[in-house]
Symmetry: C2
Subunit: 342 residues, 2 copies
């Protein structure tokens, strides 16, 4: 089967954004009433995905999408913790409803109610709620909740350890995914996302694997093909050697994975050539940052299955990239599929 | 001939760092005397490059290196403008001495005395001094003088226009190159450098070419193979199309260039495959970030000539990458070489 591990609910019914707008309005004017999410019918949830993610997934031959709230909408830069919690809950609940309406097509991943440098107890509580009560199979972790100002410590800092303990206990991976950039130097989709992937890989490389000595079961997925990393694979190997650190392209293989959200054939060719096949997970982030069709090839930019199919992998490698790796990195997804006889 | 457009004076005699240390000490304690650079003999300058950059350049078959002060040492995050000016002058003067002692092997590029969000008159004065009086052929421009906090406006902002007027008037390109990161989230060599290249390309893409409508003669060189950009070539094309902007991979070709500082064969293969050959300039940044030899291949990480030679380019394309493009992008270098009958 073909599992797309990177999809966002970019097409949520408008009540969700109206709720967000009301949250932000109340932060500006605390005299306003506490906002509530207006009712959304099952039909509205169905319709919001049926003609979008689900339609495209089926058309392209995919079987299941790992589905989470819209990444740029997480907006962790809004510093009020109660607002962050209510917003994450609303988004996660809606993802849960979509996944429950189409259980054969979606597995849910949660947004965490992060705010920069706050204690992580709200974050952990929401993670537990989503995984233990709602059956989510992973989480999105933002290494820069400030939104482009990068005021948080590296992901190897003990600040993050309480969260890692719970991720390891629950045996769910975290996709390292930033949200909207509030810094005009960084375009959200064309710079901030890629910079985050690059920066976090180097944080982990600098750490020499110590984080994963402490948390052997912790697993990070780097989206967008790992930012600049595979293109600079030699740079990372050479830097580590010069710094007397283990080769990160070897040391991190049990814990760090790359998705295939790279939107042209030569990019996916490079990714699948340099990154070990066991560390590449199929993904499209479709109906995400880049929509439309490449006029030169007639292929939709985010139809990454075409690039993966064209990358010259063996059948065994394709099975790993399309299914095997995802089931290994997301064991709760594997358990769900196994229980369904898939 | 083979021109390496990206070399730094990473091996300067120790008097230079002693001067810098004294500058920083005086900023901490203004009662200290105004520091002066201790005398450095011509022999010391000769020796500092003869057995390093020059030796390696010759061994690898290179003919000329475009040479500038050490990038991580620019330290534009030190906010005192007088200190920045004295530091840039000292570094540029020393580069000038090395270039004057080996005029057949070096062409000089200057460090600018930037500090975040200051007026640019010191920067422009030093640029003019270096180009008009010392014969420099280009400048290094730091898009983030804060050193990893990214407090400056994008390079498309009118803040930078006074500098661009002078770059265009003098007909010298700017290599977009950050310096040391003071942000623990960004490793200088493994994240900050690449993020800067990526971010600036997107700043220019977002601008849709308006900057180059205003300054048609302005030319930027993106180092380190353009960060994440060629690997995500499709992403940039698709994003621009979605945003109703011109395709940046076409629109920016007269003004934006990529060097070949990518330290493995698959990376250089990708670069030369997706970026038009007229926009790729040979460079190694050797004796820079990544030193030593890849144990898997026996090739020095930064011996990028091996990768370029192995990328399957035609003789005509190799001539462009090794020489022709550099002479076009750096017309003052071309004039110097032409005057020498080269």
């Amino acid at each position: 089967m073909i599992i797309d591990i990177h999809g966002h609910y970019t097409t949520a019914p408008p009540q969700l954004q109206a709720f967000r707008d009301a949250q932000l309005a109340r932060l500006a004017d605390p005299a306003l009433p506490v906002p509530r999410l207006a009712p959304i019918s099952d039909d509205a949830v169905r319709e919001s995905v049926e003609n979008h993610q689900l339609k495209v997934l089926r058309e392209r031959g995919g079987d299941l999408m790992v589905f989470s709230p819209k990444a740029s909408g997480m907006e962790h830069h809004v510093t009020d913790r109660a607002t962050a919690s209510a917003w994450a809950e609303a988004g996660n609940d809606l993802v849960h409803r979509a996944a429950s309406l189409f259980p054969e097509y979606f597995a849910a991943v949660c947004q965490l109610p992060q705010t920069a440098n706050s204690p992580l107890d709200d974050v952990i509580a929401e993670l537990r709620r989503c995984v233990e009560q709602l059956g989510f199979v992973g989480a999105n972790l933002n290494p820069d909740p400030s939104g482009g100002h990068w005021t948080s410590p590296p992901l190897t800092d003990p600040y993050w350890f309480p969260l890692y303990e719970v991720l390891a206990e629950l045996d769910v991976p975290a996709m390292v995914h930033v949200s909207t950039s509030c810094n005009p130097a960084f375009h959200t989709l064309g710079a901030h996302y890629l910079n985050a992937d690059t920066s976090v890989f180097m944080q982990l490389a600098q750490d020499g694997g110590a984080l994963f000595d402490r948390f052997p079961g912790l697993r990070f997925v780097l989206p967008h093909g790992g930012g600049a990393v595979p293109y600079h694979w030699g740079r990372y190997r050479g830097l580590a050697m010069r710094m007397g650190l283990p080769d990160p392209t070897v040391r991190l293989t049990d814990n760090v994975f790359f998705d295939t959200c790279v939107y042209h054939q030569p990019g996916v060719d490079l990714l699948t050539k340099v990154v070990p096949t066991g560390n590449v997970l199929f993904a499209s982030e479709m109906l995400g940052a880049v929509r439309g069709v490449d006029p030169d090839t007639g292929v939709a930019w985010d139809d990454t299955k075409q690039y993966v199919d064209g990358a010259g992998l063996s059948q065994q490698q394709l099975q790993q990239v399309y299914e095997g790796n995802a089931r290994r990195v997301y064991p709760r997804l594997d358990a769900k599929l196994t229980a369904e006889g898939r």
